[in-house]
């Protein structure tokens, strides 16, 4: 960005502002002579006294049309401005062709790409924030996201060394691995001489585990996401609980704007509780509260000037800890209001019944009631998909009954969405009488009766009983290996495979005793916070000997996921 000198304005593809916020804050951009920022929309560009206009956009045709419109209406007023365009994450000939057809390609001084495949979300988490990846792969047979994934992994390898072992399960995983191996051949000879950081790459298709994201996440972070939605590391919360309570006076006017909080492991307390089952969060918070007030009490013990000085030097840290504690106590209260409600409890009960295989082949009264009460459609779809997945498809009578209920209650246009869900195998008609799910559940121990929420000893704590299939597969891969579960793997869609990448001589890691192996787990099509929590739990298990870094096309939960698969005829959008 530094090379576009003089005053400039950036026109953002709205979708990119979030991810970019994680890399460069506005203040940083301002230091680099970015005078104004706009959101890309059709019509005329807002006026700004700048020499350069830079468009930051995803390579999408519809955006090209908007840009063309911008440029056209602009030219008449200021002929002296320079236009630049930066494609994220990659240049597209198709888009340039479009700009050419629109007759504006020549107006651009610079056309370049800003290669941003994997965005760091946290110390151990990378996401491409490619929202439509799952939909494109499974509904539209468009593998653009996989190409970006492979490219991103190549970049990662260029920085952190060739990953010697690649495992994978699923068609998309196979495709990505193939592209990676091909790209490696293409770059042969220019191999980097970096000691590999990762020992293993595990590529997992989202469609081998459709169940996990459908279930309600029960970790602290998972619940925040389920209830309020975390976007690009930020959550917006209802403001009431965060009103500044000044001592002595009751604050009368409550803030109306929602409270925006950044959530990541840089915040000590959050790092500690984010992955806990929500039922264990209360205890953790009160323990923390005691520690903090004890620390504040220390001041009474400070006698000498030196001791006081030391105490004062710790004050900022303590105050930050206290405000962090206050925030999370408020959030926990908000969440608790919801998790203790009957509706939440009933919903969870039904989910758990499905996951344990209770009455999955009948019309479920709760779903029926929810439809009758006109609960949000996505909630219905989540439950319905869950029942279908846990029953390896629904009986025709049940299936059609649900579908009719939905069409009649929410409108016939949803027939398209239902078709989509069918295409993605989230909903399906039971074709064989054999239901695989119980076999898979038993072999992989997906349901643990005695999940310990406070001091977990198994990943199943993240869903209070259900161990996410995807993470279980990861766990088994590390020990004892996939060979032990060949039969189950065959029941899941797509091939499973193992590839080895030759390392240049001399780069083979000499492992110290007790040193952990590192696995990069890449979820193609998205991953939920609960799954991340489960993987972090595995990393922390003392005897696992394995460290996990997580990468994905998109961070998701059941709601955002189903939403991305919904089809709305144009008239419904506006």
């Amino acid at each position: 960005m530094g090379d576009t000198t003089f005053m400039q304005a950036i026109v953002w593809d709205e979708y990119l502002t979030g991810p970019f916020g994680l890399i460069a804050q506005y203040s940083l951009l301002k230091e680099h002579e970015v005078e104004k920022m706009f959101t890309l929309k059709s019509g005329k560009l807002p006026s700004a006294d700048v020499k350069n206009i830079i468009f930051f956009v995803r390579p999408r045709l519809e955006l090209m049309d908007i840009i063309a419109e911008n440029v056209f209406s602009e030219d008449k007023m200021h002929s002296s401005r320079d236009f630049h365009i930066l494609f994220v994450p990659r240049r597209s000939m198709l888009c340039e062709q479009r700009l050419k057809e629109q007759g504006v390609l020549a107006s651009f001084v610079n056309i370049d790409e800003y290669i941003l495949d994997l965005i760091p979300y946290d110390g151990d988490l990378l996401s491409m924030e490619y929202e439509s990846a799952f939909r494109e792969c499974y509904l539209e047979n468009d593998q653009t996201s996989l190409y970006h994934t492979a490219k991103g992994l190549m970049t990662l390898q260029a920085l952190y060394g060739t990953i010697p072992q690649i495992y994978g399960k699923g068609d998309c995983a196979r495709h990505v691995a193939n592209m990676m191996l091909r790209m490696k051949r293409e770059f042969a000879g220019s191999q980097n001489q970096i000691l590999p950081v990762f020992d293993t790459l595990l590529l997992l298709d989202r469609n081998i585990d459709l169940l996990t994201p459908l279930a309600t996440q029960l970790t602290y972070e998972g619940l925040i996401d389920e209830i309020y939605g975390i976007t690009n590391g930020y959550v917006k919360l209802p403001p009431e609980k965060f009103a500044q309570k000044k001592q002595g006076e009751a604050s009368k006017d409550l803030p109306t704007e929602s409270k925006k909080l950044q959530l990541n492991s840089a915040e000590e307390l959050y790092a500690e509780i984010r992955d806990k089952n929500f039922n264990a969060v209360g205890a953790a918070l009160s323990k923390k509260a005691k520690i903090i007030s004890a620390a504040f009490e220390e001041r009474h013990n400070a006698k000498t000037v030196g001791e006081i000085k030391q105490f004062v030097s710790q004050l900022p840290h303590m105050q930050a800890a206290r405000s962090s504690l206050a925030n999370h106590t408020s959030i926990a209260e908000l969440i608790k209001d919801i998790t203790t409600s009957e509706a939440f409890f009933e919903n969870l009960t039904v989910e758990q019944e499905f996951m344990t295989g209770v009455d999955t082949d009948k019309v479920n009264t709760y779903i029926e009631d929810c439809i009758a009460q006109k609960d949000p459609l996505i909630k219905i779809l989540r439950l319905m998909c869950m029942q279908s997945v846990c029953n390896n498809g629904l009986k025709q009578k049940v299936f059609e009954y649900y579908k009719r209920e939905i069409l009649q209650t929410y409108g016939y246009e949803h027939i398209l969405t239902l078709n989509n869900l069918e295409k993605a195998s989230l909903l399906k008609l039971q074709t064989s009488s054999r239901n695989n799910y119980p076999t898979i559940r038993k072999t992989l121990k997906l349901w643990m009766e005695d999940a310990n929420e406070q001091n977990p000893n198994d990943i199943s704590y993240v869903y209070s009983g259900y161990a996410p299939l995807s993470v279980r597969l990861t766990q088994v891969l590390a020990r004892p290996g996939w060979r032990s579960i060949e039969e189950v793997l065959k029941l899941l869609p797509g091939p499973h495979f193992e590839e080895r990448q030759q390392l240049p001589a001399g780069l083979h890691k000499k492992r110290q005793q007790g040193e952990n192996r590192t696995t990069l787990v890449f979820f193609l099509g998205g991953v939920s916070y609960a799954e991340i929590a489960a993987l972090r739990f595995l990393s922390q298990m003392e005897d696992s000997g394995m460290e996990y870094i997580i990468a994905t096309t998109k961070l998701l939960n059941g709601t955002t996921w189903i939403k991305s698969l919904m089809d709305r005829p144009e008239s419904q959008i506006s």
Partner: protein, 832 residues
């Protein structure tokens, strides 16, 4: 060997030596007389353009290209216009500057590459003189025209012509001029005889030479050093002025006592020169004029050409070639008679050692006593680098190796590198290769460039040997050579496509970094499409193959390669290309064979061309998608009639797709729409766009119970849902009597707890109570609690002897309900 100093001539404090590089392999009948000569620095090639004795259309001049050792590379009659000047570019291309200002570029082998012009005006005014010069920007050309204007191009590969300002009073050509490169600017320094001017982009400035004696006379010759840092100026009185080229100082002024202007004048210096000099050449005399005022004179037999190098001057005559240079300091120290430098002593020690004489020990001790052995070894190694004769190199290196034995912690790096480099240098100096590079030049030029030069000369095996010997990574070494070899090979017209492809595969294999698509592009350029396609097959990067395949109109192949690459943007690109190239039928057929491309194109159509999407589905008989398409389209339609007709099409397609459910559902939708319109028309109910459920809700709200009932029956709405709907709707409207009637119409499919709760939601405890008794025993506690009847709840719980229910009731009790709590506790303990 002993007489190493035999060809040394003292000049001031230093020595100059003139050593033979080659006996020239060429056989020039008329010597170098009457021809234009261009010899490139860094031991570059030599071009000669010999004017025929009589100029007539039938006798054309001959252009000859030789290696520096005189091996003929090319020779052909010159068929273009008269040439004013010849010059070489940094990448060994020959520039022939013609009188009309056009510049023709040939490669080393005399094949024409391209041409450019120095401007339209030159065609009229003609080129009087031209110079080719090198700068960090590349190779440049400067000319002076018949109208006394200077035109310059600093980089011929990125041609930008600059017309320099007019020089006041200049008629015809200047008496002499040079091109300077200062402060990242290219300028011309010229003399009209008495005046001296500097021309840059914008101005013409008169300058003078500091300290030039007034009787100096007018300037007849100028020369600028290899690095553009120093200037030498000769006047008609024979005075040679030298100084830095920014003209702020003077270094010296020497009277050569020669009044005739020399044929050539060239700087002779080396990096860290002790004693720089200027070499002047007359017909039979070569004079080295030191800045120190000393001179050396060599007689010459023959017409010669001087080639300035960064560390000396090459003197090319028709019979041999010599290198004139200042003897490097380290060589002086070692070989100077009676030198006591550590290197000299070490060399002597080694010599004695070879003779098995104990003197070796004495010499060694002497060096070691001064703790100079390390220094001695370094000196020998360095001197070996500067020596041209392999025997001298060997004796110096052996001495170094000998000395090294007595050192414990001497890094072998310098020794090993120099050994390797000397081996490389000796092999390229071979007369058959003909690159007389000095070690200093080699270092400046870098190995990369040396390999390039070998490759330009098509010494592929040697280049590859060298890369392997020096262990250059394949990517920068062997692969690069192979790449060049391959693109040269495809131009060999006498070989069949098959043979070339085979040879290519055998030699290149899958060497990293060799781009088969580049080679194929070359083959295609030469008109060998078939070969190009064969070669493309070897390309690992499918993406790379696509643009060329499209260019060659192999679009089908391009498509499958694009798909293979996984790069969807590339697939799109090919698809768009195909769409424009082919007729629709063929285009669709092509896509059909490429499912990936087809689905991408579908995506594209979904966003951009809905109509095409329909055609695509039609072609594939994809009835289900077609039906979905019609459904989607129906929502874009504003008019109900068209909407219904689209939905009817959807129904037909769903039927064809044997998707009974969807067909029925769509029919239902149509029925609902018709119903809604009817009611909207009749009652202005505003129902259109509502779902069935919402429609019923609206009807109930409007009190149109009969119509709602009708929908409920017609659409076979499940009882449960309908009951919920009606219950809520009646409660909302507070039609309590109606509600009670409804509750009694038949047994409620949703139970009666719902009635209680809904009534409570409307805050009507009175009505709610009516239904409590109807609630099933399992829900009775809940029902009582719903109306806040703790006693009732307690009774029900105790009656059912259900612990958890008792607990629920307890949890709702407050301290005031002490009696009740006791009762509940009793009941609970009694059970136990």
């Amino acid at each position: 060997m002993t007489f190493i100093t035999a060809n040394w001539n003292p000049l001031g404090e230093a020595f100059y030596r003139k050593s033979e590089l080659y006996e020239m392999c060429w056989n020039l009948r008329d010597g170098l007389r009457d021809c234009l000569v261009a010899a490139a620095p860094y031991g570059g090639p030599i071009a000669l353009l010999r004017e025929p004795v009589r100029r007539s259309p039938s006798s054309r001049p001959q252009l000859e290209i030789y290696s520096a050792s005189g091996v003929s590379i090319a020779s052909f009659p010159w068929k273009s216009g008269p040439v004013v000047h010849l010059g070489w570019t940094v990448s060994d291309e020959l520039l022939c500057i013609q009188e009309d200002g056009s510049v023709l570029i040939y490669d080393l082998f005399g094949s024409f590459k391209r041409h450019f012009s120095m401007g339209q005006e030159v065609v009229q005014s003609q080129v009087l003189e031209a110079k080719v010069f090198h700068s960090p920007y590349g190779t440049g050309v400067a000319i002076v025209t018949g109208s006394s204007r200077f035109i310059m191009a600093t980089n011929i590969d990125d041609l930008k012509l600059r017309r320099l300002p007019e020089v006041p009073g200049l008629q015809g050509k200047p008496s002499c001029w040079v091109v300077l490169n200062q402060d990242r600017q290219t300028k011309v320094l010229l003399s009209t005889g008495s005046e001296l001017y500097i021309l840059d982009n914008t101005s013409c400035t008169a300058v003078s030479l500091p300290g030039l004696a007034p009787q100096g006379g007018s300037i007849v010759h100028m020369s600028v050093s290899f690095s553009y840092k120093y200037l030498a100026v000769l006047t008609d009185s024979g005075h040679l002025w030298t100084g830095p080229s920014h003209l702020q100082d003077k270094m010296s002024e020497v009277d050569t006592k020669k009044l005739t202007p020399p044929k050539q004048m060239v700087w002779c210096r080396r990096p860290k020169s002790q004693q720089p000099s200027v070499v002047l050449m007359w017909d039979r005399l070569l004079m080295v004029v030191g800045v120190c005022q000393d001179t050396i004179q060599f007689p010459t037999e023959d017409q010669c050409v001087l080639v300035g190098e960064m560390d000396g001057v090459r003197i090319i005559s028709s019979t041999n070639q010599e290198l004139l240079q200042e003897v490097p300091l380290v060589c002086q120290e070692i070989f100077k008679i009676a030198s006591m430098a550590p290197g000299a002593l070490l060399l002597e020690a080694h010599r004695e050692y070879e003779k098995s004489s104990q003197k070796a020990d004495e010499y060694l001790r002497e060096i070691k006593e001064q703790s100079m052995l390390g220094e001695a070894v370094s000196q020998c190694i360095e001197a070996a680098g500067h020596e041209y004769d392999p025997n001298t190199q060997k004796s110096l290196m052996r001495a170094a190796s000998f000395g090294k034995c007595f050192l414990t912690d001497f890094s072998p790096g310098q020794f090993v590198t120099t050994c390797r480099e000397l081996r490389v240098l000796n092999s390229v100096r071979e007369s058959s290769v003909g690159l007389p590079l000095t070690h200093t030049q080699f270092k400046q030029m870098t190995l990369q460039v040396l390999i390039d030069r070998l490759v330009y000369r098509q010494f592929y095996p040697l280049a590859i040997e060298m890369c392997r010997y020096l262990k250059i990574p394949d990517y920068q070494g062997v692969s690069r050579v192979l790449k060049h070899w391959a693109s040269c090979k495809v131009q060999q017209k006498d070989l069949s496509d098959e043979a070339i492809a085979r040879a290519m595969c055998a030699k290149v294999g899958d060497s990293p970094g060799v781009s088969y698509s580049d080679i194929a592009a070359k083959a295609y350029e030469c008109g060998r499409t078939e070969l190009a396609i064969k070669l493309l097959d070897f390309e690992a990067r499918s993406g790379e193959q696509v643009p060329l395949l499209l260019k060659m109109k192999r679009s089908q192949l391009a498509l499958s390669k694009a798909v293979e690459s996984g790069d969807t943007d590339l697939v799109y690109t090919v698809v768009t290309y195909l769409k424009n190239e082919m007729n629709r039928g063929d285009f669709f057929m092509t896509l059909r064979n490429q499912p990936v491309a087809l689905s991408l194109y579908r995506q594209f159509c979904k966003l951009q061309e809905q109509e095409t999407l329909k055609d695509l589905y039609n072609q594939d008989d994809d009835h289900k998608e077609l039906a979905n398409y019609y459904v989607t389209a129906s929502y874009r339609e504003k008019r109900l009639e068209s909407r219904l007709s689209l939905l009817q099409s959807a129904v037909d397609e769903y039927n064809k797709a044997k998707n009974e459910f969807s067909a029925k559902a769509t029919e239902e939708e149509m029925r609902l729409l018709r119903f809604q319109r009817k009611l909207d028309d009749e009652k202005g109910a505003g129902l259109l766009e509502l779902s069935l459920q919402a429609t019923m809700e609206a009807l109930l709200a409007l009190g149109l119970y009969k119509q709602a009932e009708q929908l409920y029956r017609d659409f076979r709405v499940p009882d449960k849902r309908y009951w919920w709907l009606k219950l809520k709707s009646l409660a909302e409207k507070e039609e309590w009597d109606e509600l009670e009637k409804f509750s009694k119409s038949k047994k409620s499919p949703i139970g009666y707890l719902a009635f209680v709760e809904v009534c409570m939601k409307s805050n009507n405890k009175y009505e709610a109570k009516k239904y409590v008794s109807k609630v099933t025993p399992e829900q009775r506690v809940k029902a009582h609690l719903a109306i806040s009847d703790l006693d009732g709840a307690a009774d029900a719980a105790i009656e059912r002897k259900n612990d958890s229910e008792i607990a629920t009731v307890l949890s709702r009790c407050s301290a005031a309900d002490r009696l009740l709590i006791e009762r509940l506790n009793r009941a609970s303990t009694a059970k136990k």
